[in-house]
């Protein structure tokens, strides 16, 4: 608290001292306000003395001086001079700082912020700051300037909200949203206007309020619109269910068109005088509503198309991708403003429309940048808006109080809102499939918050034309404060008390995701069969259209081809990862994961975080993917190899070190790598946790293994990856390559090769009890096609009943996890990577792979032993392995590593080449020795079991 106050004092004081003689002119705020200036309107322009270089330089040291001066109340010429020079940016920066610090302070107390919405606190802070400034200056220096608000603050918030709004949700509820936004707002506006006028006639409102019907209607129009800023600020902390939120929030966005039109119409009526208004003007008003709303929407859509189209071609200049997003979305807003269309609508639709294509086109880093920047800006804008609302309220000179007007307005807006909502809902419920029940209606009525838009509009009024402007300003401020503070404060308890269904932060599971998709298709199909052309029918039509035309136009080729499946798969993998993390209480992400998923600016929904990780990894985590896979062992050998390769590749991040040469691409940050690392570790450790709970006594081994794992990582990083990457890059650098593979490239160069492998993923006997392993003799030979079961490590490892994989057979899990990752990655890749781009590399690759393949032997006792033990540790419990086997394992492991290395090279080799190379007994013992012993172990152990148990596994696929 102290800090912001100080800052404010400082800037105010500086202003004072700096422009001591300008005070009279400078402090009269709104009059000379250069439209975009935030706050003080000092006589800056007046002071023409161009600050020279010297002054500019000395400006750096100026703050202290200024402060001193401020304290002493004196003024040095020099100081004054420089202050005017830096004043505007300085004050803006200072306000940003104040706002940000204030935000930090509020979030110090977790408990406090859960009870009191941030917006309330910000307004209060604004009040205090305003008071301080007032005391210091005798005049209010700062005020929410409408131009600033409409041109900068509002768009940042709307842009963020629009861009990240769920399009599906929005359009699913479009009917309700439109109704509430249009009918509801009109209803509110007229009712408030007329009722206030009636109250005036009834003398409830004081005589001093010089206003006639038109003035009241005007006031009604601006006070009746639900405000997106306030709704966002309050609702994002309440977490009501998505439908409710989107209805209220969508209404607040869409009603902008109504507000704009009403406001303009009334203003013009007031200006010409009511008596001069012709009938035609009313129709013009109606027409202008359609023009403003539809025009705004069209502008937004046009910009969305442009944006999507542009981002198709930013492959070479990834770095400016975010800029395009910001610029075009903002331009959509400004363009709409330019033609006095509904800017909010325009921006919203631009965001909604472009999101899908842009997100698919731009790189992951750009996505993150866009997201963070938007959220940051919006968060700051919101903070500033609320602080300034508070500050503006302190400005006595601006408003005049009339109790009658204020109380009437409060009552009317509340009552009419409630009546309007209930009435409309009653009508809507006859058409809605999911009726809005009473509780929803209460929340919607109560959630009709007024905010800064109304305030900015009322400040914009021309005091000469609208005589009662000051009263209106005061009333608006009170209304805004009341709704934001009182209702904002009480809505949470109310929601709790009413037991409004909340939005769950839980992400849908895979099955739910699948069924969501299934529902869409089922419903569409049933509608078609029933011969109805309902919502689903049209949605399906739109999707077809989108797929056939729009996506082709707006998506990159590479993205377009993979889009649908990629999306679905990615999504599901992400879900899976999330669920794993959730269950495991993952240290790294748990904090973020607990956050709500609603359009929240203060906090990032968990989705993004995990998405980022996964995306950056170029894959999702699909824990169990192939585990159950069951295909007869025809290609066993291939599979074995594949598997080994795959199993080795868990630690993807490590491989990605070099890769990007281009200065247009940013290299991977240390941090990200670490994060990913941590993420993966956590996944692993979570698995281990399971293990530990189950098999307590093997803790030792486990820890050993862990250590081992750490050690293991290192060698590999240097060895395989650095080698391979160059190959990849060099071959791929051509444009056309890029076309195809850019996504993969940037996301994870290394993964590509894996993809092909997995295509053969096979069979796991579901029911292989590891225990059988004992019987298996240690002599189990290295992979031989005949011995399919034994060779396929996953069979052994994963083969225990599928369910076991994640929960049960925890002993194997780490490995499974790895496999799963690899597999998921590979399948992702297979989905995403067009086969074409792999070809060129092929020759080289295959050669490499040959080289690397060195098969058996070269033991590295220390490392491998460690590895073995660890893996064994996991296995032992069940399989009761004995030591001899270990050796075997080592051997195998070794082999495996070799193989893997070999495999690593052929990054892009087509599937066939990859899989084929039979393990040539080779030489090249190389670095990556200690990997993945466990896999082998398992294969050994479980081999027999596979055979024996398979019969009784029910899985039909096996047959």
């Amino acid at each position: 608290m102290q800090f912001p106050l100080l800052l404010l004092l400082f800037s105010a004081a500086a202003d004072l001292s700096g422009t001591a003689d300008l005070r009279e002119t400078g402090l009269s705020i709104p009059a000379s306000a250069p439209p975009l200036l935030l706050c003080p309107q000092p006589g800056a322009p007046r002071d023409l003395a161009p600050p020279g270089l010297a002054s500019a330089r000395s400006a750096v040291g100026e703050p202290e001086e200024a402060q001193n001066v401020g304290h002493h109340g004196g003024g040095f010429r020099v100081v004054q001079w420089e202050w005017t020079y830096v004043q505007t940016p300085y004050i803006i920066a200072m306000w940003l700082l104040v706002a940000s610090v204030a935000k930090i302070l509020f979030h110090f107390s977790q408990h406090f912020t859960t009870v009191v919405p941030e917006s309330c606190m910000l307004i209060l802070l604004g009040l205090v700051l305003g008071g301080v400034v007032l005391v210091a200056n005798k005049k209010q220096l700062y005020q929410l300037d409408p131009a600033l608000f409409f041109l900068f603050l509002l768009p940042t918030i709307v842009g963020d909200a629009g861009y990240f709004m769920s399009a599906r949700l929005f359009f699913d509820n479009l009917g309700a949203i439109l109704t509430y936004a249009v009918v509801g707002t009109l209803w509110n506006a007229f009712c408030c206007g007329f009722s206030l006028y009636a109250a005036k006639l009834l003398q409830v409102i004081d005589e001093r309020v010089q206003a006639d019907l038109m003035d009241f209607l005007l006031f009604g129009a601006l006070i009746s619109a639900v405000d997106p800023v306030a709704v966002l600020a309050v609702f994002e902390e309440v977490h009501v269910n998505d439908t409710l939120f989107i209805i209220v929030f969508g209404e607040s966005l869409v009603n902008d068109a109504v507000t704009v039109v009403l406001y303009k119409v009334y203003i013009s009526f007031v200006e010409v005088g009511v008596e001069n208004v012709e009938t035609a003007d009313y129709f013009k008003g109606v027409a202008s509503f359609f023009i403003v709303s539809i025009g705004g929407t069209l502008v937004g859509v046009v910009f969305a198309v442009i944006l999507g189209f542009i981002t198709r071609f930013t492959k070479k200049v990834r770095i400016i991708e975010p800029l395009f997003v910001f610029l075009l979305v903002y331009l959509a807003y400004l363009t709409a403003e330019l033609f006095s269309l509904s800017a909010i609508l325009s921006m919203t639709f631009c965001g909604i429309g472009a999101n899908k294509y842009v997100e698919a086109n731009i790189s992951q880093k750009s996505r993150t940048t866009v997201k963070y920047t938007m959220k940051t800006l919006a968060s700051i804008a919101e903070t500033i808006i609320f602080i300034f609302l508070g500050i503006s309220a302190v400005d006595k000179s601006k408003w005049a109080w009339d109790t009658g007007l204020v109380s009437c307005t409060l009552v009317f807006i509340f009552v009419f809102r409630a009546v309007g909502v209930i009435g409309q809902t009653w009508v809507l419920n006859r058409f809605r499939l999911i009726p809005l029940d009473k509780i929803d209606q209460v929340v919607m009525s109560y959630g009709g918050l007024r905010g800064a838009v109304a305030f900015a509009l009322v400040v914009l009024l021309d005091g000469k034309r609208v005589k009662a402007k000051d009263y209106f300003v005061a009333t608006t401020i009170v209304v805004v404060f009341f709704t934001v503070m009182f209702q904002g404060l009480t809505i949470k308890p109310l929601v709790k008390w009413l037991k409004v269904p909340r939005s769950s932060s839980r992400k849908p599971t895979i099955n739910e995701e699948i069924h969501e998709r299934a529902f869409d298709h089922i419903l569409t199909a049933v509608e078609d069969i029933a011969g109805l052309q309902g919502y689903h029918h049209w949605r399906d039509k739109w999707e077809q259209f989108d797929k056939n035309y729009l996506s082709k136009l707006l998506l990159r080729k590479s993205v377009y081809r993979k889009s649908e499946l990629w999306e679905a798969y990615q999504k599901i993998n992400i879900r899976d990862a999330i669920s794993v993390i959730d269950q495991g209480g993952n240290v790294l992400t748990s904090a973020r994961l607990s956050l709500p998923s609603m359009a929240s600016r203060a906090s990032f929904p968990e989705f993004t975080n995990v998405t980022n990780y996964l995306r950056e990894n170029g894959s999702g985590v699909c824990l169990d993917l192939q585990v159950i896979d069951n295909v007869p062992g025809a290609k066993v050998e291939e599979d074995t190899e594949t598997h080994h390769v795959l199993a080795e590749n868990l630690y993807k991040p490590r491989r990605r070190y070099q890769s990007h040469y281009s200065r247009h691409f940013m290299s991977l940050g240390e941090k990200e790598r670490q994060d990913r690392e941590v993420f993966q570790r956590n996944m692993k450790s979570r698995m281990e946790t399971f293990k530990s709970t189950r098999y307590k006594r093997h803790k030792k081994e486990r820890s050993l293994k862990k250590r081992q794992g750490l050690d293991r990582d290192k060698p590999r990083r240097n060895v395989s990856w650095q080698d391979t990457d160059p190959v990849f890059v060099s071959v791929e650098s051509d444009e056309e390559k890029d076309e195809h593979s850019d996504a993969e490239k940037e996301e994870d160069v290394g993964i590509t090769f894996v993809a092909r492998r997995t295509e053969t993923p096979k069979p796991r006997p579901k029911s292989v009890p590891p225990a059988v392993g004992d019987s298996h003799s240690p002599t189990a030979a290295p992979p031989s096609p005949t011995n399919g079961g034994s060779l396929l490590p996953w069979k052994g490892s994963v083969s225990s009943p599928p369910p076991c994989v994640s929960v049960e057979a925890t002993k194997i899990i780490p490995v499974d996890l790895q496999q799963a990752w690899n597999q998921s990655i590979s399948s992702l890749e297979s989905v995403s990577s067009p086969p074409t781009h792999t070809e060129p590399v092929h020759p080289r690759v295959s050669a490499l792979s040959r080289l690397g393949v060195p098969r058996p032997i070269s033991y590295s006792p220390p490392g491998s032993v460690g590895g073995c033990t660890s893996s064994i540790g996991s296995q032992v419990v069940q399989s009761s392995l004995c030591f001899p086997e270990k050796k075997k394992e080592q051997e195998m492991e070794e082999e495996q590593e070799k193989e893997e290395e070999a495999e690593l090279q052929p990054l892009l080799a087509p599937p066939t080449s990859l899989t084929k190379p039979p393990p040539p007994p080779g030489s090249a013992p190389s670095s990556g020795k200690r990997r993945k012993p466990s896999v082998y172990l398992r294969s050994l152990v479980t081999t027999p079991s596979t055979g024996s148990n398979e019969p009784h596994s029910r899985d039909p696929t096996q047959l």
Binding site: E512, R517, F519, I529, I628, V807, R954
Partner: protein, 220 residues
């Protein structure tokens, strides 16, 4: 004429009671039915298959199959029909009837269960009460794989993952040598617990007759 009129009225009445559709809705459905069947008494798979709008639907087969599945007739019979009459047609349709404005908790529960059962039956193609991995895979594959062979791999992987998820949520304490046979209805209910079935599994059946517009479009 009069007699047949009253007879059909009484049939309609019965159907209304059974399915909860309004008379108008049933009449509309009847028109649609006749349109689909070419004025025959019954409808066959080919009739449904020929609906042009369905052509792009990835799970067309399952849905059509669902219409011929005896389990969806709210009787205890099992098996498949070759042709269905209007009554069966409406019965299947009634699974997608939106809930009334006011429904009690129990009613909702029942409804939910019915809808789930419908879904379950759709997946469980061999009527054995268990959705096996193969069956489930097929569903997922068809859902996702409009895009060829690659899609199959991914779809299969997804199905596997989903299956595992079911297994792990439902049978957390499975012994190591157990294996998960498939999704039973209870498990199915369990995994879709979080899904708002009531609000998602229905479509709006029109009260007004729009068959004329409909015919033009659907046949075109």
């Amino acid at each position: 004429m009069g007699a047949s009129q009253t007879r059909s009225e009484s049939v309609y009445q019965e159907l209304m009671d059974k399915t909860g559709f309004s008379l108008e809705q049933i009449k509309n459905l009847k028109k649609r039915f006749l349109h689909l069947s070419g004025n025959e008494e019954t409808i066959s798979r080919e009739n449904l298959d020929a609906i042009p709008a369905l052509a792009n639907n990835p799970i067309r087969k399952q849905i059509i199959e669902a219409f011929f599945d005896k389990r969806n007739q709210r009787s205890s019979e099992v098996g498949h029909l070759e042709e269905i009459g209007f009554e069966q047609f409406v019965m299947v349709m009634s699974h997608f009837r939106p809930p009334a404005l006011r429904t009690s908790v129990e009613e909702r529960e029942v409804m939910r269960k019915e809808k789930l059962q419908f879904l379950f039956n759709m997946h469980d193609t061999d009527n054995d009460g268990v959705i096996t991995l193969v069956e489930y895979r097929k569903v997922v594959e068809e859902l996702l794989s409009k895009s060829g062979a690659i899609g199959h791999e991914a779809a299969r992987a997804i199905a596997d993952a989903a299956m595992l998820e079911v297994a792990s949520t439902n049978v957390p304490d499975m012994a190591p040598d157990d294996f998960y046979e498939g999704i039973t209805f209870e498990h199915f209910e369990q995994i879709l617990k979080g899904l708002e079935m009531e609000s998602r599994m229905h479509i709006r059946f029109l009260d007004v007759d729009t068959s004329t517009m409909r015919c033009g479009k659907s046949t075109s």
